[in-house]
Subunit: 547 residues, 2 copies
């Protein structure tokens, strides 16, 4: 009986934020998956474009997967869909804007998969196999985001993906307190909740505080205002459009994803921007600077983004102009601080004015802070609590908050990705540990770079390489010519000029005088010589041929 | 005449913080150098241990360098002395504690250079050639720090290195307001001031706010308290010792630099810690956990530090124990956020409690914030202003602050390292641009890694390498055997198994059917094949021999 009534909650994807990019629910042989997003590589993940969750566990149960349910249209929740649907041609449940953004993204990425969408509205319910899924509105930095009430015979689980309790959101649509309270009256067995800001005391400011911030920047700017943010931060687009209108500027959009997303959101009525406010970027180029605002991507300073290219003078569509004000409307994602600072310094060096969230109130977080997290728990009154969406340090802080509110310690579980949690017989238990890791995506290859490859890359990068090509006379065993030596990433050309002859002589001696058995002897001798000379250990490769 | 009366102010060292690690003053053929510190590598500086300023300009004028003047004993101001004194055997002017810390550091690093120290006290004056240097006390996160009043025939320059206006510093010794005011009455031609916190509004909290923070952590901890900070943060050591004494714990120090620095500071009277409070780390190991506090390094999560090793269970002297509380008493240096978070998560995973400055008031900045920076300018009333110690974004903010206080825009100059500033005829002008960059130090090699090498490293790391060794029959031109192919950091071993035979076949076809001229043809063919297959571009090397 217990086995039949067991709901498995399965967070997928390496040491990233727990369950943020993908979470699966399994009951009696049926599985629904919530979100399929990407993670951005950390600084030590060399040469990786992005990361998707390892869903090997699901692949082994492909016949049991019934649906993909998406909570909202941000990259870290929808970015892996193009890969997921190739393995699981299941229907995707999403609200209208989320669906529109997914469709746009699949199109841009040239996905040929036929996707069956089930458009759902906040307030509705889907019956998916044994699962009953209720969608309810949450405010976040993108419109049309939802949380989920998931009912199975094991009980009611509330899955609170990214959210905040914004009383004055840009679209006027607040989080559905009534639904949360209704869940509470029905009895919530388990609450999963967004831990992103679990270390931040207080209450995240409303998006409406940004409006006056933008108004001030737009009014004071002598020249053009160029606002950079994430392409999917749809609410921010509305605020920039409003500020442009107020300050008598026309608005142009730059960058494919930004242009696409705005088109989708306007068509569906999630953005209210009058036609006459918008001008194409080419036309904006010809207008007087103080009549122009431009929205584009690159608020994290990414070198390949529009702002990144503006900072190095390599943007094709348009370049910086005298008097430009660049507004970076986002907060540094941890790990990006250096890149952003470098980009800001470059923009300043090129004469632009730069406004970021340390200088003016032009960004707020989209995630609930501690007081909101506590309010959620007190409204929902769950029996058990599982913090999600955060690193271990945030999850633990969130669990402590829950315990301060009276959730018994034994009823809160902190897990990392790959650790299955079970809801069974009104209890929450730790289940099996499943394999699950990062899957690195580079170019068009998915998963053929593993941690071993990454380790080799970091070895290559740490000290560079030396290649030694040796040709021997097959009769006499003597060198036919001086060994050819190439180095990359090891020493500067000038230093190589003195080091290479020394290594050649060393190899010469080894071969003609000291004797050697195979390439390994040469590698070892050169290795210890180089270490003695430079205290460094490049990777050494020897090719040996006899003629 | 103007040439004779020209003071050159020369900030040295790449795109780092301006003049932070080294600054030179040159007048009528005489040079004094202020500070000789190191910079820590950024995340994209692969395989670099640390960075020292490029002082090629000084080397060309070695006979003119009269002295090295040190403002305080932090790594970014003294860390490059061991290299500097090998090139310039000039006397080093430093306060007693700073001198002690330098001596300890030179000893630890095995420096054999004979150094002539001139010990100076805050309040004293040195006549160094044409320069008259007045030392005055400033409060900072290390005792015995000084600012400099530098008088030459060109005028009076006040060089304000790292400082804050702490009214209740740990050692009770506040910044010398009287001296600053006295300079003002004499007339200050140019003020140089620390811009580290120019983006931070308000007033940096006093170090004394940390005391109660530590007391609370020490009182609540059930087991041992392990406090990590920088080895040179001497004031913090005093505060931890006080908290240990109050909570009835003995204090042990771990890590050579920490142990050394504490020894120096205690001997010289800069730390007041009774003998009976201190126990050796071995003894601490045998005591009851709630009777023990340990101070060590690693607050930035560095993998090779004690805290880094505790997080991975690889520390030799001692390991984590049940109930340990780890206090990270510092703030993340920009760029270190990821490493610190990773380390914290690992410590939590191993069962430790972790307290950082986001959770408890156990750290404050050692640098003046905006209101202090403004106060300095209003006390000193300089004619001209040159912001130092900061990236361009901070320097510009600092210059704006100065202008808000009435310093005319034409009297504030914002420069980066390598741009000489001249004080001549009561005016501040931009002088020549001198070559000056980062000098990368790795192992024992200094400067033999340049930006070209770094670029190669990043190429190696981005996609890895493929080596193809080809042996041809010299008569027929046909392959003697299958090409040998090695990859590193490119694809996983499983993928290599399918990719390598394909490349072998491609090479086979090229050689036997399509013909080729040299290695380049093979490289190009393989390159385009691999890109087509994987959308990636590893570095390809071909060695070709004929037998």
């Amino acid at each position: 009986m217990s086995k039949k009534n067991k709901l498995k909650i399965i967070p997928l994807g390496g040491l990233g934020e727990v369950g943020k990019n993908m979470m699966a629910y399994e009951f009696a042989g049926e599985i629904i998956v919530v979100d399929a997003g990407i993670m951005f590589p950390k600084n030590d993940m060399l040469g990786v474009d992005y990361i998707i969750p390892d869903y090997e566990y699901l692949k082994k149960r492909a016949g049991q997967v019934r649906a993909l349910v998406i909570t909202h249209g941000h990259e870290d929740h929808i970015g892996a869909i193009q890969h997921f649907i190739e393995d699981f041609p299941v229907p995707i449940y999403a609200t209208p804007l989320t669906r529109g953004l997914i469709e746009g993204k699949l199109l841009r990425n040239g996905s040929k998969a036929k996707v069956q969408f089930k458009t759902v509205q906040a307030g509705e319910k889907s019956k998916i196999g044994v699962f009953s899924v209720e969608y309810f509105h949450v405010s976040h930095s993108i419109p049309d985001a939802v949380g989920l009430g998931i009912t199975t015979p094991a009980g009611l689980v509330v899955h609170m993906s990214d959210f905040k309790f914004d009383h004055t959101p840009v679209d006027g649509w607040t989080t559905d307190f009534a639904k949360l309270a209704e869940f509470a009256t029905r009895g919530v067995d388990l609450l999963l909740s967004d831990s992103t800001n679990a270390e931040r005391p207080g209450w995240t400011p409303s998006e409406s505080v940004i409006g006056p911030g933008f108004d001030k920047v737009f009014a004071e700017a002598q020249g053009r205002v160029i606002v950079a943010t994430f392409a999917s931060l749809i609410s921010r687009v509305q605020q920039v459009a409003d500020a442009a209108a107020k300050s008598g500027r026309k608005l142009a959009f730059a960058g494919t994803s930004m242009v696409d997303n705005v088109k989708v959101a306007r068509r569906m009525g999630y953005l209210e921007i009058p036609d006459e406010l918008i001008v194409p970027i080419d036309q904006a180029q010809k207008m007087q600077s103080h009549k122009v605002a431009i929205m584009c991507t690159g608020s994290q300073g990414e070198p390949s983004s529009i702002v990144g290219r503006l900072s190095t003078g390599t943007n094709r569509q348009f370049d910086l102009k005298e008097g430009d004000t660049i507004v970076l409307s986002s907060h540094p994602i941890p790990g990006n601080e250096e890149t952003i600072s470098k980009t800001i310094n470059r923009l300043l060096r090129r004469g632009a004015k730069v406004v970021d969230d340390s200088v003016a109130p032009i960004h707020v977080s989209g995630h609930a802070a501690q007081e909101e997290q506590k309010l959620l728990i007190n409204i929902v009154k769950p029996k058990h609590f599982l913090p999600i969406h955060g690193e271990l340090r945030m999850l633990m802080r969130h669990a402590e908050l829950a315990q301060e509110l009276g959730i018994p310690k034994e009823n809160t579980v902190v897990v990392e990705n790959g650790q299955v949690v079970e809801l069974v017989g009104n209890k929450v238990l730790l289940g099996e540990r499943i394999p699950g890791d990062y899957v690195f995506v580079t170019g068009e290859s998915i998963g053929d770079i593993d941690h071993g490859v990454m380790k080799e890359r970091s070895q290559l990068a740490r000290n560079g390489i030396m290649l030694i090509d040796i040709s021997l006379d097959k009769l006499t065993g003597r060198l036919l010519q001086e060994p050819e030596i190439i180095t990359r990433g090891f020493v500067s050309p000038e230093d190589a000029e003195t080091l290479i002859p020394d290594v050649q002589e060393l190899v010469n001696n080894l071969i003609h005088e000291n004797g050697f058995d195979d390439e390994k002897d040469i590698i070892n001798a050169v290795k210890s010589y180089l270490h003695q000379q430079t205290k460094r250990r490049p990777m050494i490769f020897v090719t040996l041929s006899k003629a």
